[in-house]
Every structure is written in structure tokens, then in C-alpha cells.
């Protein structure tokens, strides 16, 4: 096998005529695509067995760049379409690219019910804290105090923590990482694709054009540093909450937790469904 490199990924996975991508200078969505394709390459999967599904938004342009089957669907309904794909052919691997506005706001109900049923799909959520494509409006994930087009004096709404939500409803795999540390997201995406059941991976990506500019976070390098300094590993967070001093606790509580939140085994929806069909065919009740 050839050694894994950007050149190999470019030849094997990308539609050359679509590149260079439309994303702004310094945007992290290209990184998300990079990590996903590396995970697929390391798992040695065939692109004919994978379907990429996306909704509307910056992140949802990603399936167009990959030389595989993709669905660019209506706003917020990416997970609903992915469930449909899985229902028709359970042998396909379904990977959903979705943004924070797409997944948390308009598609919130599809998200929680797909987790409740435990459909075997991998959701990669690109969280840039803002509605980037439409000009930087307030999203459900925008942190308190942040400025956006629709909150020019600072946000007063508490943000939505989708990882905690997914964990509480019982998603088998929940993880959150930033794009600035590349090795952990690749490992998590690999684990998520292999997992039988709903895998949710949230990636914090910098948005220098909308979020960084409005919040005066500086240039791209400063923004990446901001992500490094304002995130904390979940193990470290729990240790501080148990044994740390009051000052440490106060500092840690303001940071964004990253890490693997949950990794459990649960019965998958379509497996149970086909078991039911087999049972009824045999004449059981």
C-alpha cells in the first residue's frame, strides 16, 4: 500500500475540477474533510460503500468535493435523509456532514430522534459557533457574551451543548475535538465509522470571517491559539472539579470540554427491525 499523503488523497478521493475549495482563508472545514478522508483511508473502505449526506450551510458543501455518492439535502434534514438511505440499504456506510445551525437549530428534532432510535450513521458536526454562510447571525451554540450580526452588544442566551445532550439521550459514541490537534479527531472518526449505532463527533472549527472578526479574536494564528487555550480535556476537567482549588474550578468552568464523552454498546435500530421481520416470517408473534 502506498504511504498516506495529501497527494494520494487528492488522486483517490477528490473531484479535481471542484478545487480549490470555496472556503475562506483560514476556515477549518477543509481540515474536517482532510481528517475524514484520512480516517476512511486508514480503515481501507471502498468509496462505493459510503454515502455522504449534508444539509445547508458552509460545512454542507463538503460532499460536492468528494468523488463519491452524496446528497445535498434541505436545511436541517440531513439526518432524516441519512436514516432513509440506511433504511433502503443497511450495508451502506452513511456519513453526515452538518453544521451547528443545521444540526442544533432547525434539525434539532431529527437529531434527538435519530439518537433515540440509534440509527447506524456517523454524524460529523462542524461547530464554528455562528451561522457563517448567511453573514454571521446568532446560532444556538454561540457562547454567552459573543458578538454576532444579530447580537451586536453580546449574546445573552445560554448556548446549547450538543455533546451533553447526545450523551444524556444515550448515543453510543460521542466525542468533541478541535481541528488544531489533528490526530485525535482522525482516531475518533475511525471509531465512529466502525461503531454499530449512532456516532456523534463534534469538531470545533475556526471561522475567521464571521466569528473571529466580530469578536476581535485577531488573525488566523491568534484564532487557532484561542481554540488551544480555551479548551480542556474532559478527564482534566473532572479531576479539577474533584480536587482543584476554587480558582482552578472557576477557570475550568469557563472552558470548552473536549474529549470522548461516551463509548458504549447498544442494539441498533435496523438490526432490530430485520430481526422483527424474520420473526414474523417464521410465524412467531
Amino acid at each position: 500500500m502506498q504511504e498516506l499523503s495529501a497527494e494520494l488523497i487528492r488522486k483517490k478521493y477528490l473531484r479535481d475540477e471542484m478545487w480549490p475549495s470555496i472556503f475562506c482563508n483560514g476556515c477549518g472545514i477543509g481540515n474536517v474533510l482532510d481528517y475524514t478522508l484520512r480516517a476512511i483511508e486508514e480503515l481501507n473502505l471502498d468509496l462505493d460503500e459510503i454515502v455522504f449526506v449534508s444539509g445547508i450551510g458552509c460545512s454542507s458543501r463538503l460532499p460536492g468535493y468528494i468523488n463519491a455518492d452524496g446528497l445535498h439535502t434541505t436545511h436541517g434534514r440531513a439526518i432524516a435523509f441519512a436514516t432513509g438511505v440506511k433504511a433502503v440499504n443497511p450495508d451502506l456506510k452513511v456519513i453526515v456532514f452538518t453544521g451547528d445551525g443545521d444540526c442544533a437549530a432547525i434539525g434539532g428534532n431529527h437529531f434527538i430522534h435519530a439518537i433515540r432510535r440509534n440509527v447506524d450513521i456517523t454524524v460529523i458536526m462542524v461547530n464554528n459557533f455562528i451561522y457563517g454562510m448567511t453573514g454571521g447571525q446568532l446560532a444556538p451554540t454561540t457562547p454567552i457574551g459573543s458578538r454576532s450580526t444579530t447580537s451586536p452588544y453580546g449574546n445573552i442566551e445560554p448556548p446549547f451543548d450538543l455533546c451533553e445532550l447526545a450523551k444524556v439521550i444515550g448515543a453510543p459514541y460521542v466525542a468533541r475535538w478541535t481541528v488544531s490537534h489533528p490526530y485525535r479527531p482522525i482516531k475518533s472518526i475511525k471509531r465512529g465509522i466502525e461503531k454499530k449505532g449512532f456516532a456523534y463527533i463534534e469538531l470545533l472549527t475556526p471561522c475567521p470571517t464571521a466569528y473571529g472578526r466580530r469578536n476581535r479574536l485577531g488573525d488566523i494564528k491568534e484564532l487557532w491559539k484561542w481554540y488551544d487555550e480555551n479548551t480542556i480535556l474532559i478527564e482534566e476537567y473532572e479531576r479539577i472539579m474533584k480536587y482543584g482549588s476554587d480558582e482552578e474550578k472557576e477557570r475550568a468552568s469557563k472552558m470548552i470540554k473536549i474529549g470522548v464523552f461516551q463509548d458504549i454498546e447498544k442494539p441498533e435500530y435496523f438490526e432490530e427491525y430485520y430481526k422483527l421481520i424474520d420473526r414474523l416470517k417464521e410465524g412467531g408473534k
Partner: protein
Amino acid sequence: MIIVNEDWCKGCGMCIERCPVKALEQSDKLNRRGVYPPRLKENNNCNYCRLCELICPDFAITVIPDENLLKKTVKPKLIPVRRVRA
């Protein structure tokens, strides 16, 4: 050796910033987009860790490792472990 696909580079400069041995610099030639793509310095300590290739969002850098690597290897920061100091 690194190969830079100059037309795909948008000039964010994260490869230059994050290189653990500071082996990259801006070149002096503009590309089609009007930015300066990265290049290897004349005397560099590149040990082919491939971090620049990995964090490039535009798939513009490819690292080709040298067969007879003699330089001392410096590993990049892999895991986001950091203590919170009060």
C-alpha cells in the same frame, strides 16, 4: 522535500506557524490568488513529521520523506493536554 500545489494554497500560514522545527517560510513569489505559498528554508531541520500536510485545509502540501534521514527527530505536540494554572 515538500511539494506545494501553489494554485490551491490560500495563504493562511498555519503550516509555517505550527511547524515544530520552524522549517518553513513564505516564498517570495505570488501565486494566482495573490498570496505567498510556503516553501522550505535553505537550511532546515525538517524531519518529515507531516504535520504541515495534515493541517493544511486545502490539500496543498505533500511531504516526501528522504530515504537517508540523519536529522534528530522532534515530535510535534500530539495531544491537547495542558494543566490549568490559576
